[in-house]
Subunit: 448 residues, 2 copies
């Protein structure tokens, strides 16, 4: 599927028409846009920031090539001035961002872009497309990792995610959040995520009987994971035990996989059967429509499951497949900008987040204007200046995973639980923002 | 972001390891795999088949190039035999499929692949990735189109879909289902979908006042859609009216856009204001977190809204972001295959769907073995033979949209409603399949 590089056109039409208007009006002044979630989904105590690396790569690489410009010209919608500007386009702005893998809360910017207005506007759609989705999935995946309470989690749902890019980015976001491996071969190549895989029911079905399928598979992959539920789970476990007797010391099967039925009782029965057969080293791997709730239930009830295979529900973030996330103009030409649409009141100006830790535990954030100070550590950091990514703004995915683990471990325990934290984590406004909000609320209440 | 063509690696690791095992075992016989939804989501009376074109393009174009093979070799997991086989890989099989835009029901195959086992297995992940997602979105989008009851629907949610491929495929699937336009510029280029766009709040905010922003925008785009809710919706409408007085005969604004608040009362008030100002030609466009339910409510209550902008909830299929869809082996080496996993019993053999119409209304389907016959029209059609797409298996997207409109119009009215149809549409099994099901249920009940 070789395609021309059409990334530049992966944008909303109005980004181009507004850019046209800004050029016409000579509105070149500096704008600040803030990318943040207006509120959190009901079942998220925090979001885990993700997607920054793809956002920065886009800003570094965005170009309108000749083929793209020709197509735009053929549409008869755009002026030569706009097309000339697009031809010369290089993103020249600054970006400050919260590092990937950092927990963030409602209204806290994940990133802020400062650039001439047309540049900062033009990049909106793609930045949101990547940061929104990866953050949604990392936040969901972290819940699954918490539920697994130290047991392995593998991501393997490429087939039911939303297209090819989602397949890659789910693997990335899940790994960043602490998932240990993926079945997605390309994600292994591109991101260096450990690959893992088992076998499908079709493999067992294609053989005349299950035991014969197991025999054949371990001839090729001696340390395989054998799927035991194609016909009857516990009979499948018996077949694994029989295979162990046949192979004696050559038996190296690493695990069995349960993919249906009552995973609690089946895992208990399977574990007992394996232990009684002298196979304590054979691990139990469970899958089949799992999410953080089902994983938590199995763990809480002591299911003897060593690894969880999780796919669809995690990778589509089934209970919150989208976040209320936006990219909003907060300053132009040196003046803060507000917006008063019903229910969508906006805090003006570039911002900073200060996170206040006590004894290594985060106790609250203060959201301030960028130049204000507050107690705690500032979370937004410079990552791009004049269109160039700064040194240090390209952590490895393993670094990001470690950062996420560290930052999440600093959250209060009730934030890490699956249930909604009551009260939620405190995010307060610095004095200037608090005044701005009061003023806005007054303005909004006064509107006819 | 130019990348090597890595599509071949966009697969689950186990597709490669199972292929390795099949080569080792010499299991070259013909397999039939069936791609179908095991059941429908609670709020779907049918699914609208989509994604076939991408599936067939994949089968035609799938190759393992030198760079891909080198990387696979470097992993130390795969034999030279497998790598050599992948190097020579060309999909040589047959595909029968339901045309895109056809309503289908639980257990009905959207497509069936018949090919030597290793080939048919290898392509599983990508086929599901495309057909599952596009079908989920087309099915959701059709509900929005039904709810709009003839009013325009525009798709504009690229920013909150799941990555870049989702952005394109949502635009495609929504258009196929009857949505009229998209904001996604690349979808316009690639699929020829009409482009549409309005303006963002940032445009209004960047100007000193709203009226000045409107004046500036219509100088560039005289027939623009003006967004009126940045500060106060009805004051925004007054600004549009004032602009009309200023411009006199030069006023060509096509519509106003409401994006927040109570869209029913605001649209009524805005319509009255525009009519009283002698601007009956200015249309009212509504957006802001809409889905089929909110659209239906507005239409039912007679909201004077001409067009709906729908994004996130439609494009992530928010109430059913994934389907229980699978790609299952149903025959190998001429013998039907079953699977008895708890709750996932499988109907064996290649199939056909017969849809029985009475007076132009579909009254029921019969799912049969491929070679059986039943009253009605067969829905699965040959689309690929020996790896070559058949003439007629490349309808235009406009053709598919027309086909969808026609096929949906043949469904009984209760199927097209948003509420669950009671009783659901009848899908019965042909005699041979009914016997197979009984036999399976017996087998399954008999399992210890």
């Amino acid at each position: 599927m070789n395609r021309p590089d059409d990334t530049a056109l992966l944008t909303d039409l109005y980004e181009l028409t507004m850019t046209e208007a800004y050029l016409e009006e000579g509105m070149w002044d500096e704008a600040v846009f803030s990318l943040f979630a207006r509120k959190l989904p009901a079942r998220r105590n925090y979001l885990l920031a993700a997607g920054l690396d793809d956002a920065l790569t886009y800003l570094e690489q965005l170009r309108f090539d000749a083929e793209t410009l020709d197509w735009l010209a053929s549409q008869g919608r755009f002026s030569d001035r706009l097309l000339g500007w697009l031809e010369r386009f290089r993103f020249s702005g600054d970006v400050d961002a919260v590092p990937e893998g950092t927990p963030v809360f409602a209204e806290e910017p994940l990133l802020e872009v400062r650039a001439p207005l047309p540049e900062a506007q033009l990049v909106e759609t793609y930045l949101l497309n990547q940061v929104h989705f990866q953050t949604a999935v990392a936040s969901k995946a972290r819940r699954v990792v918490e539920a697994a309470a130290g047991r392995d989690v593998m991501e393997f749902g490429l087939r039911r995610y939303h297209g090819t890019d989602a397949g890659l980015k789910v693997a990335r976001a899940a790994y960043l959040a602490g998932v240990g491996s993926t079945s997605n071969v390309l994600a292994g190549k591109r991101y260096g995520i450990p690959l893992a895989g088992t076998m499908a029911h079709s493999y067992v079905q294609a053989h005349d009987d299950e035991l014969e399928a197991f025999r054949a598979f371990v001839r090729v992959y001696p340390s395989a994971t054998l799927l035991v539920d194609t016909y009857d789970t516990l009979r499948g476990v018996q077949h694994v035990i029989r295979l162990a007797r046949e192979l004696g010391e050559d038996f190296q099967v690493r695990s069995i996989r349960l993919d249906s039925g009552d995973l609690l009782s089946l895992s208990i029965a399977a574990r007992e059967m394996l232990d009684e057969a002298g196979l304590p080293q054979v691990r139990v791997y469970a899958s089949g429509g799992l999410d953080e709730d089902t994983v938590a239930r199995l763990v809480t009830h002591g299911a003897p499951i060593d690894s969880f295979g999780v796919g669809t529900a995690m990778g589509v973030s089934a209970d919150a497949p989208a976040l209320d996330m936006a990219y909003k103009l907060v300053a132009y030409a040196g003046r803060p900008r507000v917006k008063l649409s019903s229910g969508k009141v906006l805090l003006p100006g570039a911002k900073q987040i200060y996170r206040h830790d006590v004894d290594g535990v985060a106790r609250g954030d203060v959201l301030t204007n960028r130049d204000d100070v507050a107690p705690g550590r500032p979370l937004l950091q410079p990552v791009m200046r004049a269109g160039q990514r700064l040194p240090g703004a390209t952590p490895t995915l393993a670094d990001i995973q470690a950062h996420a683990r560290r930052e999440v471990s600093r959250l209060p325990p009730e934030l890490r639980a699956l249930a909604p934290a009551r009260p939620p984590y405190p995010v307060t406004l610095g004095r200037a923002l608090a005044r701005a909000r009061e003023h806005e609320v007054e303005l909004w209440s006064a509107a006819p």
